[in-house]
């Protein structure tokens, strides 16, 4: 019975095959007012214990949305334990954080805000700071019609902003929509990307961000220290070095790469991936070709950032 089912599915799915990568939608369903307020919050260091760190500190949304440092520094200049992932297009991730411990953006915010080495804040402190600010009181009451600002409103505004942080109209997206043709080399790179199996994990709207994979599937990936991987969530030994597959959108802008920021360039990242996860050695030419393709994934700056 199972075999027959497989055969039928095999036929159906092959006849209905389409590209496994989807373009970012051009229309956003977001509350612009809330998003603008969220942007203020995002960029304001008021919400860290020592007024040193804003969200923007580690997520440069104006360029790639990630941190160029291996690990970010936060409260009291303390160092984080993992490379900061990009917030751009994070809304399309199936889970948040490298190890997927947050189900969505709302849950994610709790993380860095409370993290001792990041913002080192708590709910009450945030509310205190918000309510002692005339500007925020005015803005919040305008949108939420409230007298006292609560933590939930703070989170809501931030989430609204993060939802607008999408980078549509990447060259590849426009190709997918049939608006333009790719250069032959870019097309060749995409072909290799598929043929060598990168597509297996980097697919969907975010070209990744929709499954967990082991870093070093084929060959064990060893690091000097341990990182908060999936096993921290599932407590399974087999989930050691398992991380959420990162998005490849705007990948050319988010160096260094991997959770440990060990790859300084895209070429290095592609090479490492092919060795550790695909068990193959790509020649330089092939790597370059794939990198050329990866550059087509660079999207437009989120519209909200260009608004005044």
């Amino acid at each position: 019975m199972v075999k027959l089912l497989f055969l039928i599915l095999f036929i159906i799915t092959y006849t209905n095959a389409k590209e496994p990568i989807l373009p970012i939608p051009l229309q956003l369903s977001a509350d612009l007012q809330k998003a603008k307020l969220g942007k203020m919050l995002f960029e304001d260091p008021l919400f860290s214990q020592d007024n040193s760190t804003s969200c923007l500190s580690c997520h440069n949304i104006y360029s790639g949305g990630a941190d160029t440092k291996e690990v970010s520094s936060g409260f009291n200049n303390m160092q984080g334990d993992i490379h900061s992932p990009t917030v751009l297009n994070a809304v399309y991730n199936f889970r948040q954080f490298w190890n997927g411990r947050a189900a969505d953006l709302k849950e994610q915010i709790d993380g860095p805000i409370h993290n001792k080495v990041e913002h080192n804040m708590d709910k009450t402190l945030i509310e205190q700071r918000l309510n002692s600010s005339a500007l925020y009181k005015k803005e919040f009451s305008k949108i939420y019609h409230i007298q006292t600002i609560g933590y939930t409103h703070f989170v809501d505004a931030l989430v609204a902003f993060e939802k607008t942080l999408t980078t549509p109209n990447a060259k590849f997206d426009r190709y997918l929509r049939g608006e333009l043709q790719l250069e032959p080399k870019e097309l060749e790179g995409y072909k290799l990307f598929k043929q060598y199996g990168c597509i297996t994990c980097h697919n969907g709207i975010n070209i990744g961000g929709n499954s967990f994979q082991k870093m070093g599937t084929f060959k064990e990936y060893k690091t000097a220290r341990s990182y908060p991987d999936r096993s921290h969530v599932t407590h399974k030994i087999s989930h050691k070095n398992v991380f959420k597959v990162p998005t490849l959108r705007n990948i050319s802008l988010t160096a260094p790469y991997f959770h440990d920021a060990s790859a300084k360039s895209l070429e290095e990242a592609v090479e490492k991936m092919s060795i550790f996860n695909l068990g193959i050695h790509l020649c330089k030419e092939e790597i370059d070709t794939i990198v050329v393709f990866l550059h087509t994934l660079e999207g437009e700056t989120p519209a909200i950032l260009e608004m005044q």
């Binding site: 199972v2 075999k3 089912l5 497989f6 055969l7 599915l9 095999f10 799915t13 092959y14 095959a17 590209e19 496994p20 990568i21 989807l22 399309y92 199936f94 189900a103 598929k194 043929q195 060598y196 199996g197 597509i199 297996t200 994990c201 697919n203 969907g204 709207i205 975010n206 929709n210 499954s211 967990f212 994979q213 082991k214 599937t217 084929f218 599932t234 399974k236 087999s238 398992v242 996860n277 695909l278 068990g279 193959i280």
Partner: protein, 695 residues
């Protein structure tokens, strides 16, 4: 418990049960929506799980596949589970079992999702290796036989791997060799073989877990668990709803019962109310109506008169209706009354009148408002003629009656009409009369009252006095008898003759008293003057009245030791109904030695037949004859005849009203033995001292 309390109690119960029913309805609706919600969540969970399986299989079979859908479905599954476990209904005690099952479901779901996570990893690894090996194989240059051989073998192995993926069967891998080997020194071939074997080794290593996780995901009993959970929930919900249903049934029964009771009580209430209403109506009817003739009665008449501005009454009295009852019996009389009532109503149908009333036994009234006097009299005459001309047929009897009608619009309406009627009854030639103040009838009432008062005080003050008028023997010219005549002395000493008060007196209870006083005082005088005989007037009615009769006998028996010198005069002017009783009375008087005189003979009902029935001792000839014997020859002859007749029966006569010498002489000439009158002497308080009179 009083009925009203009972009713309000029942209404309260009905109200409460209605409220409970409404609450039950709302609860049931809420329950049913909760039930549907939970079942729907479970069903959606089931379908999402199926979709997840579908996504996974697709992912197994397709080389490239976006995992977005699968991630989305995973999330949805988690959300749905949360939604299911948050269902409020599960917080109830009796759903604990369902909660437990739901926790078990959660465990299964977690395992499944963890398996999905792992499967995706194994699947990616295996797929990548397969894709890679396929690509490598295509790039292999078939330069030698050995290469071709390796190519073919590698192809076969790849096919086996692919089959293992499609069939999810490890048998494709375990029985056969999946590694390549060649002794060829060709570097490129050896490099291919090395890479191939590395990946084949990797595939073989990962395949079991790939298949296990896939099989687990596809074959775990999550669907069954959801199905069981649904069944369990349904069972609990049905039990729950059965309990609720039973409760509702009881409440509904109570509700129906109390509503039924209310209806029953209401019906009974209406029935009794109707009965009461009917009773009230019939009471009211009988209060204002005469039940025999269906006409309004006297009370209604009085009430109506008070409400009228200018009432005018025609009072109709049936002449001698007593005779109809006496002769034909009351039944016939009643029928006549009914017919008369109908006759009146029918006749008056076209006329303007307020109402026709039965104001008394044989009396009817027709009330008008603001009617012209002439018109009223006209109607009265019409009615009188109508009734006189009408024959009342009761069975085979034909009865004719006459009525007297009084017309009156002067207050007091009824009394005046009544007086007018009494007036007209005396005069049989006219049957319709209009009341006028000039009739002065009303004044006589006042006078009557005054007279009664006078009598009352006269008795109390012993002012009832007998006066005695001498009766002379015309032959001897001597007084032999005295007639006692009643006088009422007023307080001022003035004397009233019976003409002024007797008629009134006769209608009162004082009559007995006055009679007794007269008898007593006459007896005293008689005993003082034994040389004379005294006579006292007694009416026919007195003879028929037992108490007066007894009183007379007793007085005579007790006061006279020997033969009494007392006689009784019976007034002949009154009609003697029962001669037998009168004769008995006379006989008793004779036994006592009392003579009986027939008074006023020759006037009124003078009837010779009395003499054949009654043992009369003496006949007094009425003054109306005696007065005129000197001037009227007819009266003289009448006197002569009475004298002759009396002589024939050996009865002596007394002539009354002898006022002149001439008359006294004529009487003596005729031979009449006794005479009395002013010529001989007026009535005086005591008898005369000298018995001799001058003729």
């Amino acid at each position: 418990m009083t009925p009203s309390r009972l009713i309000s109690g029942i209404v309260f119960v009905a109200f409460i049960s209605a409220l409970l029913l409404v609450k039950f309805y709302i609860d049931q609706k809420e329950f049913s929506s909760k039930y549907k919600e939970f079942t729907l969540t479970l069903t959606t969970l089931q379908s999402k799980e199926l979709q997840l399986k579908h996504d996974l299989l697709q992912n197994v079979l397709l080389s490239y596949q976006s995992l977005d859908t699968l991630a989305k479905h995973t999330k949805e599954l988690e959300l749905l589970y949360k939604q299911a476990s948050d269902t409020p209904i599960l917080r109830q005690e009796n759903y604990q079992e369902v909660n437990k099952e739901l926790q078990e479901l959660s465990r299964l779901l977690q395992i499944k999702l963890a398996n999905v996570e792992d499967q995706l990893m194994f699947n990616a690894a295996i797929r990548n290796s397969l894709v890679f090996l396929t690509t490598q194989l295509q790039h292999l240059q078939l330069s030698s036989d050995e290469t071709l051989h390796i190519y073919k073998k590698a192809n076969k192995i790849l096919k086996r791997f692919t089959n293992a993926v499609i069939t999810q069967d490890l048998d494709y891998l375990s029985k056969e060799e999946v590694f390549l080997h060649s002794d060829s020194k060709e570097a490129k071939l050896q490099e291919f073989i090395q890479t191939f074997n590395l990946h084949a080794h990797y595939l073989v290593q990962n395949f079991p877990q790939f298949i296990i996780t896939t099989k687990y995901i596809l074959n775990d009993n999550l669907t069954d668990a959801i199905e069981e959970l649904k069944a369990l929930f349904k069972e609990k919900a049905i039990a729950d709803s059965h309990a609720l249903d039973l409760f509702a049934l009881i409440i509904f029964t109570i509700f129906l019962f109390s509503v039924g009771l209310i209806i029953l009580l209401a019906l009974q209430y209406f029935k009794e109310n109707k009965k009461l209403h009917q009773t009230k109506e019939s009471l009211e009817y009988s209060l204002t109506h005469d039940l025999l003739t269906k006409l309004h009665n006297r009370k209604s008449f009085i009430d109506t008169i008070l409400s009228l501005q200018k009432p005018h009454l025609l009072l109709i009295n049936i002449d001698n209706f007593k005779n109809v009852n006496d002769i034909y019996g009351n039944e016939v009389g009643n029928k006549v009354l009914k017919m008369l009532a109908k006759l009146l109503k029918d006749f008056l149908y076209e006329n303007i009148y307020v109402g026709v009333y039965r104001t008394g036994g044989d009396e009817f009234g027709i009330l008008f408002e603001s009617i012209d006097e002439t018109q009223a009299l006209q109607i009265a005459h019409q009615v009188e003629k109508l009734i006189a001309a009408h024959t009342f047929s009761v069975g085979h009897l034909d009865i004719e009656i006459n009525v007297s009608i009084a017309s009156n619009n002067i207050a007091p309406i009824m009394e005046n009409a009544d007086l007018a009627l009494k007036w007209i009854k005396k005069d049989l030639t006219n049957r319709v009369i209009a009341f006028k103040d000039s009739l002065n009838l009303k004044k006589s009432v006042k006078e009557n009252l005054k007279i009664i008062d006078t009598i009352k005080y006269a008795i109390a003050d012993d002012r009832i006095i007998p006066y005695f008028q001498p009766i002379i023997n015309l032959q001897s010219a001597k007084v032999e008898k005295y007639e006692a005549l009643v006088r009422l002395q007023l307080k001022n000493g003035e004397l009233l003759s019976p003409y002024h008060f007797l008629e009134t007196l006769k209608k009162t209870s004082y009559y007995y008293e006055v009679t007794k006083i007269m008898l007593h005082k006459t007896i005293i005088t008689a005993k003082r003057y034994p040389e004379y005989r005294f006579s006292l007037n007694i009416s026919m009615d007195d003879i028929l009245n037992n108490s007066i009769k007894t009183m007379i006998f007793e007085e005579i028996r007790l006061n006279f030791e020997k033969k009494p010198n007392l006689d009784i005069e019976i007034l002949e002017s009154e009609y003697i109904h029962d001669t037998t009783k009168v004769q008995e009375f006379i006989e008793k008087l004779h036994l006592l030695g009392v003579n009986v005189l027939l008074d006023d003979f020759g006037s009124g009902y003078s009837n010779f037949s009395y003499f054949s029935h009654l043992d009369i001792d003496l006949v007094k000839i009425d003054g109306s004859i005696v007065k005129e014997i000197g001037s009227d020859n007819r009266k003289y002859h009448m006197l002569q005849s009475i004298y002759d007749f009396s002589q024939g029966l050996e009865l002596e006569n007394i002539a009354e009203f002898v006022e002149t010498k001439e008359i006294a002489h004529i009487l003596r000439g005729v031979g009449v033995k006794y005479a009395q009158g002013y010529y001989f002497g007026a009535p005086a308080p005591t008898p005369l001292l000298d018995a001799n009179v001058k003729l």
